[in-house]
């Protein structure tokens, strides 16, 4: 038999490992490019977080129809995600925006606690996007929910101090958002470090553009981030989070144009391919919307990692 020259890269660095939730789930730890057992000793597959909302306003009907009515109660919805095999719950508090829903700060705290008590899964909490409201509600959650380590989503270059301070005070993690650029991603992590957030409390979200809507940019930005981290850039050695739910916003994914086939199957593939590209380019945590896409991706990730 021919002798094949060795091609394993010796990078010398690895991505940090971050325990989340009650400490029984850990994200990160890659020491090589994804799933290459000849150079990456980590057999950890990316974690999969299932999206839950407190309000269904603006949430795609096609997706809502896949949860058998359980999407009406956030904790029950989260339980369904656990049954499907999710490792984490991503709670998007859209209903705290008064133009969308009626969720109060007390409600939000109660929802987080209920999800924690029922699922015991780690939780990532995301605000409604209205700064004043997020500045009020997310810190309340950080201080009142103490027995599980949350990921607070998300902080940006223009607005990171208040939420980071609240997360630090509560012993939680923060998710640093940047817009499709390796330098901006690094800059965010530097800002947070300078502000006092420990590196092993930071997750980074470099913005995963979905299939057909700029996926190529994200795929390459992610690959560059991961390669730089492995080659020793300490400020990029934090676990990478990619959202794949935006795949549902792509017209081709859900349109009922004849000749494109069943939309439910099509959007599942649209999100699954977005997620596969995310994890193949370095994602350590995938935030997913559709149950069938999440199921497919978990099974493939387990197989690729060579163990569960």
């Amino acid at each position: 038999m021919a002798e094949i020259p060795s091609v394993a890269e010796k990078y010398g660095s690895k991505v940090g490992e971050v325990p989340v939730g009650h400490g029984d789930y850990v994200a990160g730890g890659a020491g090589g490019m994804p799933f290459l057992s000849f150079e990456n000793p980590s057999k950890r597959r990316p974690m999969i977080a299932g999206e839950v909302r407190d309000s269904l306003v603006g949430y795609p009907e096609l997706a809502a129809g896949m949860f058998s009515g359980r999407e009406k109660d956030p904790a029950d919805w989260a339980m369904m995600w656990k049954e499907i095999g999710a490792d984490m719950i991503f709670l998007r508090l859209t209903g705290t925006d008064p133009s969308v829903g009626t969720t109060t700060a007390e409600d939000a705290v109660r929802i987080v606690k209920e999800i924690d008590e029922r699922t015991r899964l780690p939780i990532m909490v995301h605000g409604c996007g209205v700064q004043e409201i997020d500045h009020e509600i997310l810190p309340r959650i950080c201080s009142e929910v103490r027995d599980t380590r949350l990921i607070v989503s998300c902080v940006e270059e223009e607005d990171y101090k208040r939420l980071s301070a609240a997360a630090m005070a509560g012993g939680h993690h923060v998710l640093a958002f940047s817009n499709l650029d390796i330098n901006l991603a690094k800059q965010m992590n530097i800002l947070l470090s300078d502000f006092g957030v420990e590196k092993d409390n930071i997750f980074m979200d470099p913005l995963m553009a979905p299939l057909g809507m700029g996926l190529d940019y994200s795929y390459s930005v992610n690959e560059r981030i991961r390669l730089s981290a492995l080659r020793g850039d300490r400020m990029l050695q934090v676990p990478m989070v990619c959202h794949t739910g935006e795949a549902w916003d792509v017209a081709d994914a859900t349109s009922d144009e004849p000749g494109l086939g069943d939309p439910a199957h099509r959007v599942a593939w649209w999100e699954a391919i977005t997620a596969i590209c995310a994890m193949m380019s370095g994602a350590d945590l995938l935030v997913m919307r559709g149950p069938s896409a999440a199921d497919m991706v978990r099974v493939y990730a387990e197989e690729l990692a060579g163990g569960s």
């Binding site: 094949i4 086939g261 197989e303």
Partner: protein
Amino acid sequence: MATAIEYFKLLPKTNCKDCGQPTCLAFAMLLANQKAKLEDCPHVSGEAVEAMKESSAPPVNTVKVGTGENAVAMGGENVLYRHERRFENPIAYAVSVSDSWDAPRIAEAVAKAKSLAFDRVGMVFRLDLVSVSNDSGESDEFLAAVDAVLADWDLPIMFEINDVGVAEAALSRHAALKPLVYAGETADVEAFAKLATKHGCPLGIRAKGVEAAADAAEIAAKAGCKDLVLDLGASNLKECLEWQTIARRAAINRKFRPLGHPLMNRVGCGEYAVATAVLSTLKYGSLVVFDGLEPYEALPLFTLRQNIYTDPQVPIQVKQDLYPIGDPGPHSPIMFTTNFSLTYFTVRADIEKSKIPVWLQIVNTEGLSVLTAYSAGKFEPERVAAAFEESGVLDKSDGPVVVPGLVARMSGKLSEEIGRDVVVGTNESKDIPKHLREITS
């Protein structure tokens, strides 16, 4: 790729300027940057040119299947990551038909293969090849099946054959079409290589694992076969990813020629087959042959291929034009933005979300995003006004003209240019639906 010093060694070092450059070293530098050809120097020996061609050839062979403008090129890759340089030849997808099927069933499968074609932003995404599989083991059945396919299929074809006698019969009749002959794992590689070489057709071979594939590739090369496609025989996703990565890194980083060929996968149909194709599209595959492919699988897969094979150096652009969204009328809002495709798609998706019909004017900013274009002077009020003029949108609607929030500064000047009031829109695309509801209620 050879370095300037490697080229310099081949040159006469006389600085004669016959190549048009001041010195031999200057010429060597151009050669290394692929800005000149070695033949431009009249004093280099033919042997040196040949030797250099050999060593500067891409580490992965280029293989062509089919003829003319529809020919499918595979391989020719130089890099491992697309951010280094554009991947050369997009992966091809094929659907297989069996020669044990009757003619109507084959015709139906070919019609279905042809229906996997989608018009997208000025591009057609389509299936590349139909494969004919010699399940019968007989030549006559095989030739009849090929005829049945060719009756309605004018793109390239490939043959899946284990028996060299059947392959001989098939190539004797169809070599002019330059089909890819894909021999199964148990086939006699040497006999197939000689046959493919004799007929000038590309050969696909399958072996289990990178070592066995390298051995088979050497046997084929010794038999004279240059146009080779390798199937590493992966039976699951992990083998597919790891083996293809090893093969491609060995070829590119270690100049290991036996694995410097395009790679292919023979999959079945359904979820796992598509997942394998997705991985292969990302990591170094050049051809995936399916038993069948549904439209809801094909469209996302073809979109992925388009995404991965775009040039990472050039921002993708959409055409400067007026894009009506949701059947706008004479009072619908007029919005505009840059022709950077990511901006366009994002803005478009957010307008669609609002369910309010809008005239969306795309302005050619050479693929720059809103702020970058504005600071580069490529998104000026004059340019916007000219685009409005060209499309005639101001005559189509008397609705509000919305200036992107990030370039609110241009409002006054734009209003002057077009002789109409303008309103300032949102900074973030995601806030468009809310703003549209406000200005139209």
